[in-house]
């Protein structure tokens, strides 16, 4: 089991930079999420941790040892590939036992380990089958079996559920978590699905264009996004952004939004010019004692909740309110915000302004 430190890791392909100097720490036993849109450098980062790709600069430190220039075969890590990459010419048993043969383990020992692993994953019946006929879920299990059979320092998984059907994905993610809780092995898990990351991860790194936007727990990332990109990428629907012009001083607790005064968490930083008011849909409510108004343009019924889209003077906004509340298209309603949950962003750079909400220092990436 291992602690993994990533220090200023950087990867260039020719003159294209796939990963900009990134740093984060994965604690021993953590289920760690690398989250970001397609092409942002998640796989490249994971491959550098694995040793399949050598970094242009920076360090990968596993358990205090700098392994940056060490070949993959000596790092004692397991990798679950995006498309599983089971050896097509070997059957399930041989696929699982393959990593053990390279260690020169005895036949009896190998037999025993394969039996253990296949019992854990409930794939005993499949052992003698060729891998080509297996269903997606079974392939996934065999790939996991091959990874866990040799008790590696850590597991690296590249979108392991991406190749599965939607209905099966949930089942497999439960199974993965159960396995993780049992083995307590450090796991780095790559995904582009924010919901999956929020549900499964102990910690999340959000990447965009090779840059780490934020690093923290799912709660920190959801509640106190550090950039507009994170606020927009996390949550479904994403955070609402209302644009306004302002000149704000340190200590500000009230802002002017469309001629109405709105409370915000105390600001620890001054700003001027184009500013963005960020609020999650569940922090928007309908109220009569406000002058801030919006026109309902659409409603979406979601069982106990409903999602109401409104037009305001500062742009479109979505509110998640109780289904029992009435919302009719075309109606004008007053809008209130849960003031202590508001994040203000600098409209130019997209970064969050420091405030009483996000200045706890715990979520610095």
């Amino acid at each position: 089991m291992a602690k993994i430190q990533i220090k200023n890791l950087r990867k260039e392909f020719g003159d294209f930079t796939a990963v900009e100097a990134s740093s984060f720490t994965i604690e021993d036993g953590e289920f760690f999420m690398l989250l970001g849109p397609s092409g942002c450098g998640k796989t490249t980062t994971l491959r550098m941790i694995a040793g399949l790709e050598l970094p242009t600069s920076g360090e990968v430190v596993i358990d205090g040892e700098d392994v940056s220039q060490m070949p993959a075969s000596q790092r004692d890590i397991a990798f679950v590939f995006q498309m599983f990459a089971l050896y097509p010419h070997l059957n399930v048993r041989k696929n699982i036992s393959y990593p053990l043969h390279s260690q020169g383990m005895s036949r009896v020992e190998i037999e025993r380990k394969v039996a253990d692993v296949s019992a854990t994953l409930e794939i005993e019946d499949l052992l003698e089958k060729p891998v080509s006929g297996l269903s997606g879920g079974d392939r996934q299990r065999v790939a996991l079996g091959r990874a866990i059979v040799r008790n590696p320092k850590c597991f690296l998984m590249d979108e392991p559920l991406g190749a599965l059907d939607a209905e099966f994905r949930e089942h497999m993610s439960d199974e993965l978590l159960r396995l993780h809780n049992k083995m307590k092995a450090t796991t780095v898990y790559v995904t582009h699905d924010q919901l999956e990351a929020m549900q499964m991860g102990d910690k999340i790194v959000v990447m965009n264009h090779g840059v780490i936007e934020q690093f923290g727990t799912p709660q920190q990332i959801y509640n106190t996004p550090k950039t507009m990109f994170v606020a927009d990428f996390i949550g479904s629907p994403p955070m609402n952004f209302l644009n306004f012009q302002a000149k704000l001083k340190i200590g500000t607790t009230k802002i002017k939004l469309g001629n109405q005064t709105v409370d915000v968490p105390e600001l620890y930083q001054e700003t001027s010019g184009n500013t963005v008011f960020g609020v999650r849909p569940e922090h928007v409510r309908f109220t009569d004692n406000t002058g801030y108004r919006g026109i309902v343009t659409a409603t979406e019924y979601l069982g106990t909740n409903q999602l109401v889209t409104l037009d305001t003077a500062n742009g479109e906004i979505k509110a998640r309110i109780s289904s029992s509340q009435k919302a009719t298209v075309g109606e004008t309603v007053g809008l209130g915000f849960e003031s202590q949950k508001i994040t203000l962003f600098d409209g130019k750079s997209g970064s969050a302004l420091r405030s009483a909400l996000n200045n706890d220092g715990a979520n610095n990436g």
Binding site: M83, F84, S132
Partner: protein, 312 residues
């Protein structure tokens, strides 16, 4: 794509297709059958006019192919009666066996040179193709184009320089020289064919093996080679067919020790003119190795590429 192209062909269409294929097969296989049949004819039957479709089979052609014979006096023949079936065939023509012919040696030469150069072409080709496919080779595209460009002119166009070079370095009429030449000619084809096949094998397989604790070379021969079996088999067949059938260089560069079967077969001339059955017998035997080789590798050719375990 139009709708009709994916719908099931009609019954009538299938019949027409089957008849056309059968007719074509018949036309192409006819000369081959004729050669095989001629090998089993007697000399007289082989030149009979009109040609004989049915005949009394005889092994005379094969015996002539493998032996040299001389005419002997009646007294000698009477004093030395034939001891076995092939001596008897020869005796019946009023001849005796003087010794084995050169055909065995030439056939062995063909085998050594053909399979030797095929083995080398495929071995070197696989390694080069793997390197081109997986590593950042400087000037990769230029090198690949250069390799291909060696095929742009017919190899025989450089026959004279090669003849002179071979003579200068002492490679004329040697097995090593012929193996080297055929390997050089086949290598470009082999690199290109195999690179195509290896490009198709997802890298993840080798990377999985690297992660599983194997070295790059172990990953290559334990994971990549089995996956490339189809490509290796078909490349080997192409290389063998070229080296086996090659005639022009063989005529030019070999005359004795290293002479292969193709230049030798036409030189089988009987005492009384062309010995067609012996030549046909030679051609028949000559066809066998490539046929057997292809049949042995057929399993790999037909098995197709098993990429089933990676979903694309």
């Amino acid at each position: 794509m139009s709708k009709s192209s994916i719908s099931e062909p009609t019954r009538g269409f299938k019949w027409i297709a089957a008849i056309l294929v059968a007719f074509y097969s018949l036309v192409t296989i006819m000369p081959l059958l004729w050669i095989v049949a001629t090998g089993f004819k007697s000399s007289a039957d082989s030149i009979a006019y009109p040609p004989k479709i049915t005949f009394q089979p005889s092994l005379e052609g094969y015996v002539n192919l493998f032996t040299t014979q001389t005419r002997q006096t009646k007294e000698f023949m009477a004093a030395n009666p034939p001891k076995n079936w092939y001596e008897e065939i020869v005796h019946s023509k009023g001849m005796v066996i003087a010794g084995p012919s050169r055909f065995g040696e030439r056939f062995l030469n063909s085998t050594i040179i053909g399979f030797g150069s095929t083995f080398l072409s495929v071995l070197l080709g696989t390694m080069a193709a793997y390197a081109f496919s997986r590593f950042r080779v400087p000037l990769k595209d230029d090198l690949l184009f250069f390799i291909l460009s060696t095929r742009m002119m017919p190899p025989i166009a450089v026959a004279i320089p090669i003849f002179l070079m071979f003579r200068a370095v002492g490679l004329s009429d040697t097995h090593a020289g012929m193996i080297l030449l055929y390997t050089a000619v086949n290598l470009s084809l082999s690199v290109w064919l195999l690179k195509g096949f290896i490009d198709e094998i997802p890298r993840e397989y080798e990377e999985a093996a690297l992660i599983d604790g194997y070295t790059r070379f172990q990953a290559f021969y334990k994971v990549v080679l089995p996956q490339a079996a189809t490509g290796i088999a078909s490349t080997a067949i192409f290389c063998l067919i070229f080296a086996w059938n090659e005639y022009a260089f063989a005529v030019l560069l070999t005359s004795g020790t290293a002479q292969t079967a193709p230049p030798f077969i036409p030189t089988i001339i009987g005492v009384a003119g062309q010995d067609w059955p012996a030549m046909a017998a030679g051609a028949t035997i000559f066809l066998l190795p490539v046929m057997v080789f292809t049949i042995l590798l057929r399993r790999h050719l037909l098995r197709g590429i098993t990429f089933g375990a990676v979903r694309k």
